[in-house]
């Protein structure tokens, strides 16, 4: 066993299968997941470790179904006695709740008994020492950054985290598969201080393989550049017009769009895109594609927690919705077939049939207006699509950065915003499960002056 895991994949499959057998012995159908994850996190400042943490946990969750009545129970200890206890608890709950005809295991023919399994794990070595030396390297590379007169740029924290995990799913239909993954994150948080006060900025790199991560020098360099860009911020005007979103902000908008196409949102009609299939939900040059099987993808998987595989497919094609994200439960409610999305969406990629251009070309298209670099709070009304945010950003004049802005709100309606996408930049960036370039969206309301 390398790294942090305290169990083997076979242990997890055995634990899940044991739970299912116990439930079957009580005359029920069942599905069980067993998970084990471990990680180490090192935080450095001023050349010294400020925090060193080791995490290790496991969970077994059993769902018992009898006569369309369902009970769920979980335990953080996965010894046999604890498993027997939670199977009994789940069974007791199933006896107390009312039946729901849509509850229950998926039809056997939907299950991914075999099939493609994307590679998600890279074996690791001496993680803690390696993490410490990486975090120290980032801290060192980011220290002593130069700043314009009267300003300073200092390291707040340099962090390196390594995680290994795995999970297994067993069901009373004989399904029993497992999967393992690794995940590495490094970031550098900087403090930028000018005459008005301080602000923070950061740069993060995340990948399933150490070799896929940005180097400590690049992480420090990007973090310094971002910190420098927020110095000497000024208020923004109250203004209506086009707004450009950097990829890390744009990814949040893509997530909102995908969320509205989620099965539970559709079942409850708590979505600003009701009955969307075949309808125009975004500008006609915009496409959104899903790929569950990308090797080392941050949202890849061979099967969901119902045991069903996803597929490579278009979600939005030329602005028209072609797919929803369905679990067994939501598929039954809506009268369709699961798309294997019980855990949410897999890797998504937003693209455009129009040429977007480089960041600089995108800024030229924006002309004058707001470039959003991050969100600081706000909310989305899932029923109406009313969207309101506090944002961080830069004011652009004639395609060039004029100054950073502070105290800015931004508001719109997501359905209109998606139709008002003017261009998707070529600066494609992966942010967790979403890949997108910068987005240029017309007719947004900027509030400023604070």
């Amino acid at each position: 066993m390398s790294g942090f895991l305290t169990h083997s994949e076979a242990d997890l499959r055995d634990a899940a299968a044991f739970a299912v057998e116990r439930a079957q012995a009580l005359g029920a159908q069942a599905s069980a997941t067993a998970r084990n994850e471990g990680s180490a996190r090192i935080e450095v400042k001023g050349g010294e470790a400020q925090k060193a943490e080791r995490d290790a946990h496991q969970t077994l969750t059993i769902t018992v179904i009898r006569d369309s009545r369902q009970g769920t129970a979980s335990t953080a200890a996965i010894d046999r006695d604890s498993i027997i206890r939670v199977v009994e608890e789940a069974s007791l709950i199933a006896a107390q709740v009312q039946p729901d005809p849509e509850d229950g295991l998926p039809p056997r023919e939907w299950l991914a008994f075999s099939g493609a399994e994307p590679e998600l794990h890279e074996a690791g070595g001496n993680y803690v020492e390696a993490l410490l030396s990486t975090a120290l390297d980032i801290d060192r590379a980011a220290s002593g950054a130069s700043a314009p007169g009267g300003c300073s740029i200092q390291v707040s924290e340099a962090v390196a985290i390594a995680t290994e995990g795995m999970w297994a799913l067993a069901t009373s239909d004989g399904f029993c598969r497992s999967s393992r993954y690794s995940d590495h994150v490094r970031w550098c948080l900087m403090l930028a201080t000018d005459a008005e006060g301080s602000a923070s900025e950061f740069f993060e790199s995340r990948d399933r393989r150490v070799t896929g991560l940005a180097s400590p020098d690049r992480i420090a360099g990007e973090a310094i550049a971002r910190a420098r860009s927020v110095l000497n911020a000024r208020p923004a005007p109250i203004w209506r017009g086009p707004v450009m979103f950097e990829p890390r902000a744009a990814a949040g908008l893509v997530g909102e769009l995908a969320g509205a196409l989620g099965g539970m949102a559709q079942c409850r009609k708590m979505t600003f895109l009701p009955d969307p299939l075949g309808r125009q939900v975004a500008a006609e040059h915009v496409c959104l594609d899903e790929d569950p099987f990308e090797p080392f993808g941050l949202a890849s998987g061979g099967f969901d927690s119902d045991g069903i595989a996803g597929s490579v497919r278009p979600i939005i094609e030329n602005g028209v919705a072609r797919g929803l994200f369905l679990s067994t439960y939501s598929a039954r409610k809506l009268g369709g077939r699961s798309t294997g999305n019980a855990e949410g969406f897999y890797n998504l990629r937003l693209s455009s049939k129009r040429r977007g251009g480089t960041r600089q070309e995108m800024l030229a298209k924006l002309g004058s207006g707001l470039l959003v670099t991050g969100f600081q709070g706000g909310s989305t009304d899932s029923a109406t699509g009313n969207w309101t945010r506090a944002v961080k950003g830069l004011w652009i004049e004639n395609g060039e950065v004029a100054h950073a802005v502070r105290g800015v709100t931004l508001a719109g309606e997501i359905p209109a915003m998606m139709k008002n996408i003017v261009a998707v930049g070529d600066d494609l960036t992966r942010l967790g499960s979403v890949r997108t370039g910068s987005l240029l969206i017309d007719d947004m309301q900027v509030g400023g002056g604070a």
Binding site: D55, S74, R85, Q96
Partner: protein, 485 residues
Amino acid sequence: VNGGTLAMDRAREQLLAPAGLDEALIGRALGRLAGGGADLADLYFEATSVRRWALNEGRVASGGFSMRQGVGARAAHGGSVSFAHSADFREMALDETVSAVRTLARHGDANRHPDGIAIASAGAAHSLYPPVEAASAEDAAAWIALLERIDRIARAADPRIVHVEANVRATDTTMFVANADGQSAADVRPATVVLVMVVAEQNGRRSRGQGGFGGRWGLEGFTDAGIDRMVASAVRIATTNLEAIPAPVGEIPVVLSSGYPGVLFHEAVGHGLEGDHHRKGLSAFTGRVGERIAAKGVTVIDDGGIPGRLGSLGVDDEGTSPDRTVLVEDGILTGLMQDRFNAGLMNVRSTGNGRRQSYAHLPMPRMTNTFLTNGQEDPAAILASLDRGIYATEFGGGQVDIVTGRFNFTTMEAWLVENGKLVAPVQGATLIGLGHEALKHVSMVGNDFGLDAGMATCGKEGQTISVSVGQPTIRIDQMLVGGRG
């Protein structure tokens, strides 16, 4: 009565004895954890069980139970903390967890306490909440009936209500903490929250409303009157928002009603007064203690000792009894909230604000129940004073950037007001301000103080805990409202 020897007996019976542990074994583990001279070392044991029931489409077809337990081991040398945790704390596993911390800390093999550390028997008793079992399996039928009643009264309240969801989550936590100074404390913490979400529909337009109600109690705390109030509020929010128009944009006066809108003070000053941000020099309030940051009449308090509140603690997660800390007194910044680690480094004492999400998380300075105290004004007069502005009665939550001090929060139920009269409800808008500036514009403080209904949570560095917020009705003369215009 809770805490003290009662909680200690409960912890021995539920946590320690099943794992074969006693105070002598824990004292030896603490000795190893402290090694050759940690400035702070502690072991935190916890067992939690949770029961939940959920109603959807008129029936309770979903229920769940979960149980977990574990130990978190921490050692600090100067400003450097090492931490590891384990779900298993039988003697061998506890030894391994302690070894993991020593490896992380890289302070060698020394042990100043080869015979272990003598642990004092128990912390102080308290009567903030009873040691009841909130997550009892026996209560299933009563919980299901309560959720079904919520569905009935919500649908009966207004024919436009087309969808109702509700759930209850009851949690029992037993904790025991012991440190290398030989102090120990135990506590039994019940916590139950009922949440409701309703959807209203009219002429094809849909809107949602939500509410919650909870405290450190079990089923017995959920009176019909309390449930009725929660449902009525959710129905009112949903039906009000059916008529909502886009919110204005710009710097305008706002009136915030009593209760949950006190989240303003949690965000605008609370987070910025947590000791860790000051030790690191990161808070916009660093160096401002003693300065005027708000108008006279503005007094903000963090008090972990209010009976029954979800933010209350008999002892914090480091075994310290919580203070009533005055954060802002008559407009002057006065106090910080501390845990043992930061207090030690800043050479002050802990205020009992050391909290953690679970045994698997490091404690930090966190808020408990944080609120603006009562003023003199009649709330009706405060609303009547608004020539043109926003009157906000419910918020969806808030955030703050500690470094800049800039906070924001988003309305869930608010009205456009002209000449002191409600003109029309407005859609959700983000309100933003700067902690050390915005409160100078608080011009009126009402006499109708109230705390939230018992469902507030707070997130910090990825850890979520329960808190309370509160205030009387207030008027702020100038605030940036970011609507669609």
